[in-house]
Assembly symmetry: C2
Homo-oligomer: 142 residues x 2
């Protein structure tokens, strides 16, 4: 876990990590959220409703977005992180169990008075396709 | 689970539900995200880093945001939902294990050509304090 303080951080600082999405993660997310939607469970429903575009059920977008929590809390800035907001969170490609996602974040702005970072973040799959992106505001508490 | 089609939905339609945040949910979210930040685990760290503001560890913001997945996937529109984006997601108050959160969503716009809804959504705690809010764009696939 990184332990960047606000003073340590320069605009342009980048961090990244990768994580595989598994059926077990999907099952846990279903329990947490209470979202039993068949798009995220039933392969044949996902195939039919997407007009054949999705060959199997799709991972919850908000599950993949949980990786932005890890980006801030573990990497950028790490230990002294408090997420303030996601200015915009956009889902662009479906994610399937077995995909390996790479999360990249880059500091694009520092607000000294509020101790806030703006972090441009993107998640790509193993084929280098962007599956989601966001702009996060993260407070650094030290 | 609601099964609203795009044609069924009128601007102003509202849905809501409530859910308690538990330590078990926090543990599962930690496994999913890989976010081991002590703010979400260690009561004394949370107390110290917040200058005494948080009396115990704080639930992950992105865990509470998983309830927006359930809002779209189960309630508004329910079965035929596909989340497109969260235009802005803002965390305003800490959430603690044992809190009961109420999620409310209201359709504020329909884009006929893209089959997209704009849904204004808010999560409040048991003391009626807003803990987060967002504006979601959700596609209705039928």
């Amino acid at each position: 876990m990184r332990e960047y303080t606000f003073a340590d951080i320069e605009i342009g600082l980048q961090e990244s990590f990768s994580r595989e999405i598994t059926l077990e993660m999907e099952n846990m997310f279903r329990q947490i959220s209470g979202d039993e939607n068949p798009l995220h469970l039933d392969d044949s429903f996902a195939y039919e409703i997407s007009g054949g575009k999705y060959s199997s059920h799709v991972a919850f977008g908000m599950l993949t977005a949980s990786l932005y929590s890890a980006l801030a809390g573990m990497y950028l800035p790490g230990k002294y992180s408090l997420i303030h907001s996601l200015e915009k969170l956009s889902f662009q490609q479906p994610v399937f169990a077995g995909d390996t996602l790479t999360v990249e974040g880059k500091v694009v702005d520092k607000d000294e008075s509020l101790r806030l970072l703006r972090i441009k973040a993107v998640i790509r799959n193993q084929n280098n396709k962007t599956v989601s992106n966001t702009m996060m505001k993260v407070m650094v508490m030290k």
